[in-house]
């Protein structure tokens, strides 16, 4: 220990943070390494002791001699397993934390490498302590607990459009590429083992089928490793989806090949019939997996349709249905990975339309959390398992394997690209091919599959495992570390960070329709034609079944627009611009410009709204705060099953409406700048006032269900952008005090009415006795809204027709 700490930093803390981080890491590793064996060591003792004690106590119970009551007892074995699991998870997470504290390290070495090193260290420590290393990469644990979260995370957030557009290419790489790899590696290895050197070694005993089996295990590109490494290099979407898609879809091939060769390795021969059965089996495995996943996905979407009253458990449905899909597929030896991907991809559009915003966030973060922890654990366990062994090193076998993997991959990619490019519109360049070949990383799946092999059937299992581990290490370390500089060197196109703008969305849809039309004119039933048909089917039948209520009819464009507006509103509030909404002119804030900093200041020439001086704003803020607090205090009693309504969540939708009104009103103001000094009191003021109240009421008291979808349609009449009607429009600004401090002299039609009110600031200007108090809640909420509206609202006369409709709803 002193050696290690000495080499890193001079003794003593209080040095810079990276050094501290490193020290912390070492301490943690040491702790972890020591606690586990201690736990393992002490438990038998303790349990033994406990047994003795029990015995004694029982014995003594019979004799009823009194023993002093044990104030403090130690009983570890009861909690041993959960304790150790938690300790591992904690270690994994702390490691992750630690790496990011050390800035330089995380940019040079990919996280996966570091985690394997940590695993090696921990394994080494355990071995040093003389204890037996727990079999952490047990296949059941891996396939049932560690792998699903990662795959679900990948499947749920799979970018469907690029995936579908490149599906042909991906399938070619996944199926044909993996087959090629498996047979090439297996065959050449067999050839190598058959070479009789001067001194025959144990190698010569390996037959063809085990070699092929080994080839099929080692040839599959591993999604976990690919994800881990590609996350950090940010290459363009096309390459990412190609390599990643390949790693997901080759699972079916791997499953079939593995089972096929494992079954018949004992027998020794594989006939043509078996080969054909293998092909059929492949189709069954792949399509069956997808079907199972799709069924569960539809079930999940259907369930989510009814969850509007129990929002709390919405995420649970997503997780459980997906996991069940995986397990169900595994029952029949179908491809669990494909089932999981299909389930996530199928359910996502419908579930997202149905669940609340919070559930969406929950799902996103839980998935990310679990997949992150899983990934970390997998790599650490890889390191531990390496130390554990069992190993049988054979120079020839291992080196030949490593070289063959590289060579096979390169040849496979180049050959396949040559064929694929004949069918692609956008061809794959040499650079692309290089990245695809270089990104073929192997990982823990290969190791687990090797681990599963039965020692009796496969006496060379140890050698296989060693070779697999070496290949994994090679790809993860060498290829993982060098891919980033290579990407820079080759100037491969990077991922574009900016979010999709509304322009891109509109024009993309436009182009879709255009291309579909052209395809129809040419009589060419291509890509667009089928996509259009699927969309139409989706809109007509599926959405109606699976999406609740109004959202089922919402066109994609509108949904996208809503999402964008919501995001922008949230960002605006987070950046502190919420109460300053009047001064944030939306026209200068576009999606491209959204930064955490404040939106750019308004252009002075275009503003007609009076600027509130600082003091006024402070007052208003105080009013808001106190009103909001009052609302909060009047909460219902605690109920575990419902989410307490967050006042700010309602506030967002209001912000959106206000922003929208703002934009429209600003336009109107520009148009109507001549009418600013309109004289007072048109004859229909009571009705106008009621109209305003009524429309105001509509925006305030919106039931929760409507708040998501229909915020923009709630009061179409109050703020319709009609051309300037012959009735004189009035612009009124509700200020907290009658005195508008600014130069623009906007006449306030209700100023005199307003001045009559005693405490204008505490009570809504407009909620007057004729309406009566319709409940204790309403005035306050109206206050709160009213105050906010005082800041932002400029009213335009909705016109006489609006009044008649608005009359009824308001008066109780």
């Amino acid at each position: 220990m002193p050696l290690r700490t000495g080499s890193h930093s001079p003794a003593g803390f209080g040095k810079s943070l990276p050094e501290r981080g490193l020290l912390l890491l070492m301490v943690l590793v040491f702790l972890e390494g020591s606690v586990l064996p201690l736990g393992a060591a002490s438990s038998p003792d303790i349990s033994h002791q406990a047994n003795l004690d029990d015995h004694k106590a029982a014995h003594e119970g019979h004799n009823s001699t009194k023993k002093p009551f044990p104030v403090l007892a130690l009983e570890y074995d009861r909690v041993q397993i959960p304790f150790e699991i938690s300790l591992w998870v904690l270690l994994a997470s702390l490691m992750k934390l630690g790496f990011h504290l050390i800035p330089r390290l995380s940019s040079i070495v990919p996280e996966s490498c570091l985690l394997i090193v940590v695993g090696l260290l921990v394994g080494g420590l355990i071995k040093l302590a003389g204890e037996e290393v727990p079999p952490v990469l047990d296949s059941r644990l891996f396939f049932l607990c560690l792998l699903p979260p990662i795959i679900l995370d990948a499947g749920y957030f799979l970018p469907i459009r690029p995936f579908m557009e490149n599906l042909g290419t991906i399938l070619m790489f996944a199926v044909v590429g993996t087959l090629w790899n498996a047979f090439f590696i297996g065959g050449v290895l067999y050839g190598v083992t058959q070479i009789q050197p001067a001194n025959p070694s144990s190698l010569n005993q390996i037959e063809l089928l085990p070699c092929l089996l080994f080839g099929s295990i080692i040839s599959a590109v591993d999604p976990v490793a690919v994800l881990a490494v590609f996350e950090e290099i940010h290459i363009n979407e096309l390459l990412h989806i190609l390599v990643f898609g390949e790693s997901l879809l080759n699972d079916a091939v791997t499953v079939v090949l593995y089972h096929l060769f494992e079954e018949y390795a004992g027998v020794g021969t594989v006939t043509l019939l078996d080969g054909i059965l293998g092909v059929i089996s492949f189709l069954v495995v792949a399509l069956g997996g997808v079907l199972v996943g799709a069924i569960y996905g539809i079930l999940a979407a259907f369930t989510s349709r009814f969850t509007s009253h129990t929002r709390v458990i919405e995420p649970l449905f997503v997780f459980v249905y997906s996991y069940m899909a995986y397990l169900s597929a595994e029952i029949f030896h179908l491809s669990g990975i494909m089932a999981l991907i299909a389930c996530g991809a199928v359910m996502r559009p419908y579930v997202e339309a149905n669940i609340s915003h919070k559930s969406h966030t929950t799902i996103k973060y839980f998935l990310k959390m679990w997949s992150s922890v899983s990934e970390t654990l997998i790599f650490i366990f890889l390191g531990v398992a390496t130390v554990d062994g069992p190993h049988a090193w054979n120079w020839t076998f291992v080196t030949v394997t490593v070289i063959l993997c590289l060579v096979a991959r390169v040849i496979g990619v180049v050959g396949l690209t040559f064929v694929i490019n004949k069918f692609r519109i956008v061809k794959l360049t040499t650079k692309d091919q290089f990245i695809i070949a270089y990104g073929g990383l192997r990982g823990a799946i290969a190791f687990s599959l090797g681990f599963l092999l039965n020692e009796d059937h496969f006496p060379m299992r140890k050698m296989f495992l060693t070779a697999i581990i070496t290949v994994i290490f090679f790809t993860v370390f060498v290829q993982g570390m060098t891919i980033k500089p290579l990407v820079e060197l080759l100037a491969v196109k990077k991922k574009q960070e900016a979010k999709r703008s509304i322009n891109e969305e509109i024009h993309t849809q436009f182009l879709d329709h255009l291309l579909t039309g052209i395809e129809d004119i040419c009589g060419h039933y291509g890509h667009h034609h089928w996509k259009d048909k699927l969309n139409r089917f989706n809109k007509k039948y599926v959405k109606k079944c699976l999406i609740a209520g109004e959202r089922s009819k919402e066109p994609q464009l509108i949904a996208f627009y809503h999402k964008m507006e919501m995001k922008q509103a949230i960002e605006l509030v987070e950046s502190g611009g919420g109460s300053k909404l009047p001064s944030a002119v939306p026209s200068t804030v576009s999606m491209q410009n959204i930064q955490p900093k404040k939106p750019p200041p308004a252009k002075a020439t275009e503003r007609a709204l009076p600027q509130l001086p600082k003091g006024r704003e402070e007052e208003i803020r105080k009013i808001l705060r106190s009103n909001l607090q009052r609302t909060r205090q009047r909460l219902r009693s605690y109920n575990r099953h419902t989410l307490v309504a967050d006042p700010y969540e309602d506030g967002f939708s209001e912000l959106l409406i206000k922003k929208q009104k703002m934009v429209e009103l600003e336009k109107k103001i520009k148009e109507m700048s001549n009418y600013l000094t309109v004289p007072a009191a048109p004859p229909d003021s009571p009705t106008m006032r009621r109209a305003r109240l009524a429309s105001g009421r509509d925006t305030d008291f919106k039931p929760a269900q409507q708040q998501k979808g229909n915020k923009n349609c709630s009061d179409p009449q109050a703020y319709s952008v009609k051309p300037v009607s012959d009735s004189v429009p009035t612009i009124q600004v509700d200020l907290a005090s009658p005195q508008s401090p600014d130069s623009v002299n906007l006449l306030d039609e209700f100023k005199h009415a307003g001045q009559q009110q005693p405490q204008v600031e505490d009570q809504g200007l407009m909620m007057k006795p004729p309406s009566g108090q319709s409940g204790p809640n309403k005035p306050h909420e109206a206050d709160q809204a009213r105050d906010q509206q005082k800041l932002t609202r400029c009213l335009s006369d909705p016109g006489p027709s609006a009044d008649e409709d608005e009359d009824e709803p308001f008066l109780p």
């Binding site: 703008s501 993309t508 579909t516 004119i521 890509h527 509108i558 952008v721």
Partner: protein
Amino acid sequence: MGSRASTLLREEEIEEIKKETGFSHSQITRLYSRFTSLDKGENGTLSREDFQRIPELAINPLGDRIINAFFPEGEDQVNFRGFMRTLAHFRPIEDNEKSRNPTASEPLNSRTNKLLFAFRLYDLDRDDKISRDELLQVLRMMVGVNISDEQLGSIADRTIQEADTNGDSSISFNEFIKVLEKVDVEQKMSIRFLH
């Protein structure tokens, strides 16, 4: 087949079309047979009704505009050359064409020309700008009838705000190009015409 003799494609014509549009011989003949199958009147030209007879086009929101794009200004009939000229915009861009002599006139399927074709579908009055009204019309066609005018209006406003760099409240062709620079137009606006 006797009455059709006058409308059969001659070799010189095929060559001319090949030079102008870049399609291959087999592609041209294939498209010619499609042209004749659409041409119910058998007079060697297509009218608007011929296009409208295509069932999928009727349910396409942009159907009418696409049909209009085939017909040159003010005319009601389009012959095979015009048909191919319009379709040439959708030919995939080939690598060898990219490196061609830049002084030669741009091929019909270059990225700029593809975008110009799309732009002209928005810009009906050909004033080289997509105004708010034109945008609203297209949005209304794509979105259907359930959405209110204000909502569409705000989407249109937002769209123009994002794209407009010179402040004229409309989208010019250059702004249009800029907005779509991240979109892979070469792939999105190309059809793989079978050989």
